[in-house]
Amino acid sequence: MAKHRGRGMASINYPIGMNLGGDPSQALVHSNPEGKFTVTLSAIDLGQGMKQVTRQIAAETLGVPISDVYVDTADSDTGPHDMGSFASRGTHRVGNAVMVAAKEARGVMMEAAAEELEVNAADLETDGRGNIHVKGAPLRAISVKDVAIAAQFRQGKTIAGRGIFLIPLSEVNAETGEMSPVSCYAHACLVADLEVDDETGEVTMLKMTSAYELGRAINPKMVEQQLVGGAWMGMSHALYETPEPYYPDIAHGPRDYNEYVMPGPGDICPHDIAVLERPAPDGPFGGKGPGEMCANPVLPAVANAIFNAVGVRIDELPITPEKVLRAIKAQGGARPQGAPAGRG
């Protein structure tokens, strides 16, 4: 009749982008008459922050401040084709397409600036604050705004760019499964600390500690959003959720949020996260995408921690109190395993 603490871990990797490739994304970038840029996409923001991620990538590539860039999406009349927001492909595919488009636009902008300043474009750089100046001579400068006006009204140039990013479709061998699934992977390791009540089978999450490697954090606050929110969903998948509680029997499916159980604000636990960045050679500034893999390591870490706490293995998700309790009873009581570290 006790609560037993347990600790478990899991380590994973996650493929970035649609499996086998063949999933193109396109982007358009153009300047208004005063040097403010619009990135036009058909990519979808589900809350993961597609608009802001692509905005920062565009601003970086163009060499202008973030306040001079807005992202417009999604209208099939104006936004060029994008495969869709899934498979952790947004940052990698759409981000790359935006970079290509922004590079082209930047190229025109620099040529226009070079013409105004009567230098070679190769001698110019952007200051990231809305100005273009000669390298090493910051006073020989012109504002992006003035460049845009000159380009449009005098030089007859359009400061605009288009981009597509496509990883060609991979074949799959029927006999061996040889294939190129993706070009880069994200990684994670997570430790779950929890408590199991051996009278009720209930599991209480106490803490999660993790390390995630995601190539490049385009926006660290948004990375935090994904990792915290995703780990919550992982915990929810592990311990609570199912529309078929008696799978494979379809009876008693939950019809609303009362019956489809998820952890609420009183059920969450602290999550201590470390972020590593090993840039993907073909990611935008090395970016991969944390949006999906953030949930995955939690499920097995929780299962392993339950084993550590009471010595039962629940190999079927979700790990409900009923399953835990039945297993403890079948075992003849809780059998705490002791510290998982070191030889057993």
Binding site: G47, I66, E224, Q225, G229, D256, G266
Partner: protein, 169 residues
């Protein structure tokens, strides 16, 4: 079908709308008046995205008969800001990145406002309890709780016009 006129104050302004018998407040606000900040999530009272304040109390608009709202004072997220100045809760949600898809945010803010209006110094447990009827599928609740506690701690500081009240990039 005969329609019934209902008059109430919405975010401080007098409003009138004709509703069908049995029509809920959610529909009356969205389709009748055009306040789209109140969302449809379940229509069964289990998700909280339609949370509004009626005479200061948090209520689920999907389960409230529009006809019972005559003469009441209703508050939605569209009424939180004072002109260009954001409510401290809105400021705090922004600072703490307490929204991703944003769909639960309107209801969450109203539930939080109801809490802070009656209890200016809630504990973490008080906050969790107050928003326990508001489902969020994206954030994991942690930044929302932190934002509400932060707003509570800053309560009483008047936002000056302009910069402080506006979102900073």
């Amino acid at each position: 079908m005969a329609k019934t006129p209902v008059q109430f104050r919405l975010n401080g302004a007098d409003k009138a709308v004709f509703v069908d018998g049995g029509e809920n407040l959610l529909n009356a606000l969205r389709r009748g008046i055009g306040d789209m900040s109140v969302k449809f999530g379940c229509g069964q009272g289990t998700c909280g995205v339609c949370t509004v304040l009626i005479d200061g109390e948090p209520r689920l608009a999907c389960l409230t008969l529009a006809e019972t709202c005559g003469g009441r004072g209703i508050e939605t997220a569209l009424g939180l800001a004072e002109g260009p100045n954001l409510h401290p809760l809105q400021e705090a949600f922004m600072e703490h990145f307490a929204a991703q898809c944003g769909f639960c945010t309107s209801g969450m803010l109203m539930a939080a406002k109801a809490l802070l209006d009656r209890d200016p110094s809630p504990t973490r447990e008080d906050v969790a309890e107050a928003i326990s009827g508001n489902i969020c599928r994206c954030t994991g609740y942690e930044p929302i709780i932190n934002a509400i506690l932060d707003a509570a701690s800053k309560r009483g500081r008047q936002p000056t016009s302009g910069e402080q009240g506006r979102a900073r990039i």
